[in-house]
């Protein structure tokens, strides 16, 4: 059976799957008490970092496949013109996985990059993975600062070497 043509590089697809596993493991480490922990210096809470991680691929993804990615659930509600991040870990885990899977499928099957400001779908996904890592690094400091147990380093780095 012929493999369908895709705009996505195999290494980027694999990296996205690794990144998704890392995020899943991180979410599984969290407890309800941890989601309120705040980044030192008055920054985001853990829940808000997760909102950034899950919401940003959808935000950009709509620019090349609104039909598939527009209906994805959001991890926030708006109250008094403020964005309130979801704190229910069960829902967070579900929406995070659904979003990651949908984004990969949309990128794999896309025939054009639509209105994405990125040079290619590969660059878009790598940007999203970099964005995730930036927020994960800060999320770790939020946990540390609040005296919570940190996930093991292997959780974040070993999957890259296992494939």
């Amino acid at each position: 059976m012929l493999k369908e043509k895709t705009m996505l590089s195999e290494s980027v697809k694999e990296a996205w799957q690794i990144n998704t596993r890392i995020n899943k493991s991180l979410l599984e480490h969290l407890t309800p008490e941890m989601v309120a922990a705040k980044t030192p210096g008055g920054g985001f809470s853990v829940a808000e970092h997760i909102l950034e991680i899950v919401g940003t691929p959808k935000y950009f993804g709509i620019k090349f496949d609104e039909a598939k990615l527009g209906p994805l659930p959001d991890l926030y509600e708006v109250k008094d013109e403020k964005y309130i991040a979801e704190t229910d870990l069960g829902r967070i885990c579900e929406v995070a996985q659904q979003t990651a899977d949908a984004v990969l499928e949309a990128a794999e099957t896309a025939e054009t990059k639509g209105d994405l400001p990125h040079a290619s779908l590969d660059v878009y996904l790598i940007h999203m993975m970099v964005h995730d890592a930036h927020h994960r690094g800060q999320l770790f400091l939020a946990l540390k600062n609040a005296g919570h147990e940190l996930p093991d380093d292997d959780l974040v780095w070993l999957p890259w070497k296992e494939g």
Binding site: I126, H127, A133, H134, L141
Partner: protein, 136 residues
């Protein structure tokens, strides 16, 4: 590199909250990680990158960090483009290795930004970090 261009020697001393890792140490680690893994597939090229893993005083020099980072990036790209196999790299491919490295950099950049913020230094604008991805 935009972030390094924003920094001065004083900012290199800013520490990650709760962790006592300085901005300089974050950068030294970012450079050393590429040197360490890159040697698995092209020791000749990657071993020429300065070894900053010892945490020496001279690593807290912004000019040295800038030049080492530039060398790191040039070597990594060149070696990856001409490699004919992945040698002893424990990653599935050189592509995966490079994506891992940019992810590793980003993890530490996120923490560097917090080190600067909690030490009340000026932060680089968001665009310095994100607009290059969007063609900016």
């Amino acid at each position: 590199m935009n972030l390094l261009e924003h920094l001065n020697d004083e900012m290199l001393l800013a520490q990650t909250p709760g962790g006592a890792v300085s901005v300089a140490q974050h950068f030294a680690h970012m450079i050393d990680a590429v040197r360490f893994w890159g040697c698995y597939f092209d020791e000749a090229r990657f071993s020429a990158i300065p070894d900053l893993s010892g945490g020496a005083e001279e690593n807290r020099d912004i000019h040295k960090l800038r030049s080492s980072m530039e060398q790191r990036d040039t070597v990594a790209l060149e070696a990856s483009l001409i490699a004919t196999d992945k040698g002893g790299l424990p990653f599935d491919s050189i592509g995966t290795f490079l994506i891992h490295i940019v992810s590793h950099d980003a993890h530490h950049r996120g923490q560097i930004v917090l080190a600067l913020k909690t030490s009340v230094f000026d932060l680089p604008g968001d665009d310095a970090i994100w607009s290059p991805w969007r063609g900016g």
